[in-house]
């Protein structure tokens, strides 16, 4: 009898829970941004929770300094900043923002996540909060990062792009006066250095199964006159130019120009190989410059790091393409469901304001156009020895920087293309097959 009773009880419990679960099933309707009114009435202390990144941009010390200054100016608003590495950021955001009460009020969003997060209803639409003069003083290319379908979902913060690095010592030893301007030249120089025994594998890339492989491929692709997605957001990477580009990548491994470990490398692996003096050339984000050129604890090639515009292919050059790279900028956004939307926005405005960006430019070039004019530019260049070289090349390179498409299924599309690149690089598919299969799969996602 007892057995039957407990069985009944268990069944009843399951039934009740099932009902509960059914009621709570996907009812997570999007709560529209209740801009402003949710603010706690004056006097009450609020805490703005911020999720930032520890890898590039401001250091945690700098972030904390900015936060305490904001609190000093705005008594009653505390700012609490948490830090993650870039690789952890996406997962953390997805798990902490998908609930109805977000765990963070202000958070860092990568360029490629904006469409997805905006569509999910996690980002506050701040189009009307941005004064016209602020809008006009920041680079248009920077606004492209945080804008989805004409609405602005955050403040541009970190301008970044992939850049071309070379080892000046090896270049000189091989008898070259200037860095290559085309990939064919790079290959020729590399092979010569290899023959001379200066380096075993002249170039290292981040071609592991990760977003980093997409950025490398797309930067190369635009330099070959190709296109990642066309103007209608349809995949275009599998046309003739795309196939040629990927075939060149495969070929460069076979020729021994590309370090074969590129297939398992991400950005930090590229940095370590280059910093150990085991590569003559490398493509990486701008953060590598300061670390490789000046930081003796991190680098064995200090003082030997050259920066140049990203090369293009001969074919692209003949068509008038000077250089091409990929934009990897990030913005800060306010959570649409935050309890302290106004306080959060206040902090974000402060963090991305021109004076703060100017003052803390040692690890992050400002997103403000006005920072690169007149006196401001002099100040920026003299901020530290890294800026002196980095800022001029960076601003020149930024003219040739391409943005990845703003589509809601970008992450999934990227995984598919990553697989295709790996299949071609590993030799299990031809470049043409791999790219065509990926394009077909991505077209299906779009529907």
């Amino acid at each position: 009898m007892n057995v039957r009773k407990s069985l009944l009880f268990a069944l009843a419990l399951v039934a009740v829970l099932a009902l509960l679960a059914a009621c709570a099933a996907p009812a997570a309707a999007p709560q529209e941004a209740s801009s402003g009114e949710a603010e706690a009435g004056g006097g009450e202390a609020v805490t703005v929770k911020v999720l930032a990144m520890q890898q590039a941009g401001y250091t945690p010390d700098e972030m904390d300094e900015i936060a305490s200054r904001f609190t000093a100016d705005n008594p009653g608003i505390d700012v609490e900043v948490s830090y993650l590495s870039y690789d952890e950021l996406y997962d953390k955001l997805v798990t902490s923002m998908s609930g109805s009460k977000p765990a963070y009020d202000v958070f860092l969003v990568d360029d490629i996540w904006y469409a997805q997060f905006a569509s999910a209803g996690w980002l506050l639409d701040v189009t009307d909060r941005i004064p016209a003069e602020v809008h006009d003083s920041i680079f248009d290319a920077a606004w492209d990062i945080t804008t989805v379908d004409g609405k602005i979902y955050g403040m541009p913060w970190m301008l970044d792009q992939e850049m071309f690095f070379y080892n000046t010592e090896m270049l000189e030893a091989a008898g070259y006066a200037a860095p290559p301007t085309t990939w064919e030249e790079m290959e020729e120089m590399g092979l010569k250095m290899k023959e001379m025994g200066l380096v075993e594998y002249p170039i290292i890339w981040s071609w592991a199964q990760a977003e980093a492989s997409i950025t490398d491929f797309v930067a190369l692709l635009y330099g070959n006159g190709g296109e990642f997605f066309d103007e209608n957001n349809q995949p275009a990477f599998n046309n003739e130019r795309g196939v040629q580009t990927l075939a060149w990548m495969v070929d460069s491994i076979e020729k021994g120009v590309t370090n074969p470990s590129s297939i398992a490398s991400v950005e930090e692996d590229v940095r370590s190989v280059f910093s150990q003096g085991n590569a003559a050339f490398a493509m990486n984000w701008s953060y590598m410059y300061e670390l490789a050129q000046f930081n003796e604890e991190e680098s064995q090639v200090t003082g030997k790091v050259g920066l140049a515009l990203m090369p293009v292919f001969e074919q692209g050059k003949a068509e008038g393409i000077v250089s091409s790279t990929i934009d990897g900028s990030m913005g800060f956004s306010v959570a649409a469901n935050s309890d302290h939307v106004d306080a959060a926005w206040g902090y974000l405005e402060f963090l991305t304001s021109e004076p703060i960006q100017m003052e803390f430019s040692a690890h992050l070039p400002p997103a403000w156009k006005t920072a690169y004019e007149g006196e401001n530019l002099q100040k920026l260049l003299s901020e530290n020895k890294s800026n002196e070289v980095l800022v001029p090349v960076f601003t020149e390179q930024f003219k040739y920087s391409h943005v990845r498409p703003k589509v809601t299924y970008y992450t999934e599309a990227s995984t598919t293309l990553q697989l295709a690149l790996q299949e071609a690089l590993g030799g299990s598919k031809t470049p043409e097959e791999a790219l065509n299969d990926a394009a077909a799969a991505i077209q299906e996602m779009a529907q």
Binding site: F9, L13, V14, L17, A18, L20, A21, A22, A24, A25, P26, A28, A29, P30, Y90, D91, V94, T95, S98, Q116, S119, A120, G121, E200, A208, Q209, A210, N259, P260, S261, I263, A264, D269, S272, V273, Q276, N278, T408, Y409, T411, E412, T415, Q418, L419, Q422, E423, L425, G426, S428
Partner: protein, 310 residues
């Protein structure tokens, strides 16, 4: 004491007293039932319901009930079956190696060679290392440009230039398996060693007198008596290996070319990367179904009657 001494007293206890006892009993059980229900049953049931929806975080407010649609889509997808095959390969090889090496190490310890206490103690170390740390360590060991494996093989003269270990799918999978075996071998070895210590020495003496050689004694005495311990290791390790995620996440992130994507990694990609909560939930139920099937097979095959009696 008293009531058991006088059974007739029990019968005299009033019905209301009995009913009150029942309520007290339920009252005592309720808190734990609620906790278990809240943290185990509710999430399971909720996930089950989610798995029948086309539910993507990217398109809030557009959830659609599609019944078994998510399941059918996976079951008819060749990539899903490749992933299952890969997961099965990981499971069979890593659990098999752990078991064979585990028995070998346990026998070694049980033979009490000089320093066996130290050996047993040092066995704990890999097991005590968190999986994430273990994964990071092996990622460095396998690193193509400054990894210890390349350094070792080069110094031994077995290779003449560094090898980028993790760029071939099949090789990467085997290396991840090895990292996992290194980490979990102590678990198998310690459980089996504990069981070995419980086998009376007389069995072996008697068999030796009857003329059985070491191999026959191992095969006919040790192994059958180790069956309960082996069953424990097999069930626990198979379930864990089938769900493997963390070590892959750290060492290869599923690469190269999806060569190390297992079913749990696919679930992660589907749920958190693609934000398809519905199909992610369906995948987790498929994983559970596979694990349940494996457990049933084990219990049928290994948990035989004579074992139950002992």
């Amino acid at each position: 004491m008293q009531s058991s001494a006088h059974p007739q007293m029990k019968r005299k206890r009033s019905m209301s007293q009995q009913r009150r006892d029942t309520w007290v009993a339920w009252g005592l059980v309720l808190p734990s039932a609620l906790v278990i229900g809240g943290v185990i049953l509710y999430p399971i049931v909720r996930t089950l319901i989610l798995s029948t929806y086309d539910y993507s975080l990217i398109r809030p407010g557009q959830e659609q009930f599609i019944g078994l649609g998510n399941y059918l889509e996976f079951l008819s997808d060749s990539m899903f079956w490749q992933t299952i095959k890969r997961t099965a390969y990981f499971t069979v090889i890593s659990v098999g190696l752990e078991l064979v090496l585990g028995i070998a190490v346990a026998m070694l310890i049980d033979a009490h060679p000089p320093g066996w206490r130290f050996l047993r103690f040092s066995l704990i170390i890999p097991w005590a290392v968190p999986t994430i740390v273990n994964g990071t360590m092996w990622r460095w060991i396998y690193n193509a440009d400054y990894g210890a494996l390349n350094g070792l093989l080069l110094q031994l003269g077995l290779i003449d230039s560094y090898i980028p270990w993790l760029i071939k799918p099949w090789r990467a999978m085997n290396l991840v398996i090895w990292a996992d075996v290194w980490h979990t071998l102590p678990f198998a070895a310690l459980i089996i060693q504990a069981a070995l210590a419980g086998i009376p020495g007389e069995y072996h003496e008697a068999a030796a007198i009857d003329g059985a050689n070491a191999w026959r004694r191992f095969w006919n005495i040790t192994l059958p008596l180790l069956r309960p311990a082996i069953l424990v290791v097999l069930v626990i390790r198979t379930v864990e290996a089938f769900r493997v995620f963390d070590i892959i996440f750290v060492i290869t992130r599923g690469g190269p070319a999806f060569g190390t994507v297992t079913i749990s990694y696919l679930t992660y990609l589907e749920t958190f990367r693609n934000m398809s909560i519905g199909s992610g939930a369906a995948l987790s139920f498929i994983v559970s179904a596979f694990i349940l099937a494996i457990a049933i097979v084990y219990i049928r095959v290994l948990y035989t009657d004579d074992l139950a009696e002992s």
